[in-house]
Symmetry: C2
């Protein structure tokens, strides 16, 4: 098996088989693009400046001397694969180039604990889908009718909506509880207050690469060539604000105040050993959504709640990305079928991912069934929704007998509302 | 009255009192920021390079040597007013600086007919509101119930949703008819086809300036300090796609394929002589939306349909921006009350503007009442919705006895769907 001269624990999220992309702030306050191996950030700026990305797609492109990944994303899959191959070669335990160059090694590998990660992408547009059947079923059951939980369109198209890009923040950003209009039960007069029903949504998102010109489409069978990689997404939601505002044009302020993402973008190539075929869809979809080899990835997902009073983080949910009805390729083909243009650095999130057991639901709304079944924590307290001081931590990884391909974490603490 | 040494027709949209901002492509293929007077573009790059923006806010900022207005927008109202005053002085018929410098004049003033305008802003996020009461009433009447046309939330908050920023295009961009899923009447099986119910929406949008940090808010009484200026917006809509997709998360593909804007951004200072007080709102709004001096602008709006078979453009609608229930300040205060951050270059559109007479409705949906009252054109044809080859032209201007403050036009022709 391929191994690196950099030691990597078996449970590490970042073996040589992963090589995700991100950005960090250097000691000098500059933003450098990076990858990761074991407990180290790999400074790609330094490698690029040293002329080590010398393949035909990346030579003289200075792709890793930018402060965001957008340019690299726009170069497309051949460049992504060349970068991956170059890094794999440079990190291989048999390759002396980097291994035996102490000066270069000291500049390239920086302990993760010493650096601050920064947003690696200038995000253009943000789309949030609604592609987990169990989640759509749960929400439909709670707010409408269990016998008629899915809308008639749900199995014909990947329902989605546009989100707010400006308020997408990196893991570790603490967030003030939002305030807004809500409607008390049995009243027709709204009130203004702190949101009382604050929730997370466990999602996985993907960033796009080259994209298409306005008026063109991306076919479902070519769509993966436009997917640069994936991140964990917490689509924070204020349920009480949402309930009052969302008719008829959809969620707006309930979700515009923050969406958190994990810093490491994991490529589809790294995840390829963990592909799973997706079952045939019934009813059959229209031809533009009919993907030849429909597949997803076996990615374990976990959600924890932590705060100062708990001995250890409380696990709220155990789920998996495989619980998706619509594939990423179908989502992207749908988004563009009208001719909508996709750009490098757009993000497309899955929607809340809920498995088919009660401990695999991807939101407090579902886990506590609208607050009717509170979660018991080990300090004796309980939760219907998120309280001030709660840190919500999501993690995700695929694994086999040899290694894990991990996403790290996306976390964010809820601070009291600003007064 | 203030007049310029550049002659300006009384019906021109661009007297010295307007001075809107935009960008154009120079003979050398560079992008320069510009203003306008009469039939001329004013090259702001040249004026900036000549050191003529020498006030305390703009000196040494090179604000007009960028290729977008975003940096200038972020400088805030004192810088905007200084730029306006500098331009007013330079264009004044009594001021020899520019008037008597033939060489500089020849570089600064370029006939509008000789230049191609380009997108002057790197647009971050796009929000579309739904703030015309007559429009919301019309749509609610058609699709729900005339006795209960407005949703319960409509008079308590400016309903809005996030739109797609990537597909905002400049006036003059022709657009292919989108394709997508629609549901035939009396069927539960969707079909894939060209959109058959293609529509425009007459809107006015505003661009934001400095904005706020995530977690902060913009108060309703300070909100106008964050509004850089206004443009005409055509929020193209595929009604048949919208009908099938929009439950429960709102419009998505129906509108993601294009939104057209006019190139000239007209400042609130230019429009200030045309302010109108807005009536008190009933029911009373919550304090965060309670604006001290609630005002709008008296801006005439017109929509025309043209195509090769018509002798002259057919006027479809005559409306006015004053027909708004919610002010721009209320929209922006609402958008940010949760702590959502606003950035220089975001755009916020009004939603379809419909007056209270049948000839003032802002969409084909309303003008033809869902196609039941087709519009008769002078070539003997009729329209229920937009046909291939139709060019939709919107224009807008405020006027008094002395001059017009105009927006120019936003136009776009619908081409056949790509096969």
């Amino acid at each position: 098996m391929l191994t690196s001269f950099i030691p990597v624990d078996k449970e590490s999220h970042f073996p040589i088989q992963n090589l995700p992309f991100s950005a960090f702030e250097t000691e000098d306050g500059e933003i450098h693009l990076c990858s990761a191996i074991g407990d180290y950030v790999i400074d790609l700026f330094v490698l690029d400046e040293a002329g080590l990305f010398d393949g035909k797609h990346l030579k003289d492109q200075f792709a890793f001397q930018d402060s965001t990944l957008n340019f690299f994303m726009g170069l497309g899959k051949p460049a992504w694969q060349e970068a991956r191959q170059t890094l794999t070669n440079l990190l291989d335990k048999e390759n002396p180039t980097l291994r035996d160059d102490d000066l270069l090694r000291s500049r390239v590998f920086i302990p993760m604990e010493d650096v601050e990660m920064v947003m690696p992408v200038e995000i253009g547009d943000y789309t949030d889908f609604y592609s987990s059947e169990q989640h759509a079923f749960n929400v439909g059951s709670m707010f409408r009718d269990p016998d008629n939980a899915l809308m008639p369109n749900w199995k014909h198209l990947p329902v989605g909506y546009h989100g707010r890009a400006s308020s997408i923040v990196l893991s570790g950003t603490d967030l003030h509880r939002p305030k807004g209009q809500t409607i008390p039960n049995d009243s027709d007069q709204p009130v203004f207050s702190d949101s009382k029903l604050l929730d997370f949504e466990l999602e996985v998102g993907f960033f796009t690469g080259p994209g298409n010109e306005l008026g063109d489409t991306i076919s479902v069978d070519n769509a993966e060539d436009h997917i640069f990689g994936m991140v964990l997404v917490n689509d924070w939601s204020a349920r009480d604000i949402q309930k009052w505002e969302y008719q008829p044009l959809g969620p707006f302020l309930a979700k515009n105040w923050a969406t958190s993402i994990s810093p490491w973008i994991v490529t589809l190539d790294a995840l390829s050993p963990f592909r799973l075929d997706m079952p045939e869809q019934d009813p059959e979809v229209l031809p533009y959504l009919n993907q030849k080899n429909r597949s997803t990835f076996d990615i374990n997902l976990e959600v924890y709640l932590d705060n100062e009073k708990l001995n250890e983080p409380h696990k709220l949910a155990t789920s998996n990305y495989k619980h998706m009805y619509w594939s990423m390729a179908q989502q992207l083909a749908h988004q563009t079928v009208t001719g909508c243009n996709v750009r490098p650095g757009d993000i497309y999130a899955s929607g809340t991912i809920s498995g088919n057991t009660e401990d695999s639901y991807g939101s407090m709304l579902e886990l506590t069934w609208k607050g009717t079944k509170p979660v018991q924590l080990n300090d004796g307290s309980e939760r219907k929704f998120i309280q001030d001081g709660d840190n919500i931590i999501m993690t995700g990884y695929a694994e086999n007998d040899d290694y894990r391909i991990g996403f790290g974490v996306v976390e964010g603490k809820i601070l009291p509302a600003k007064q």
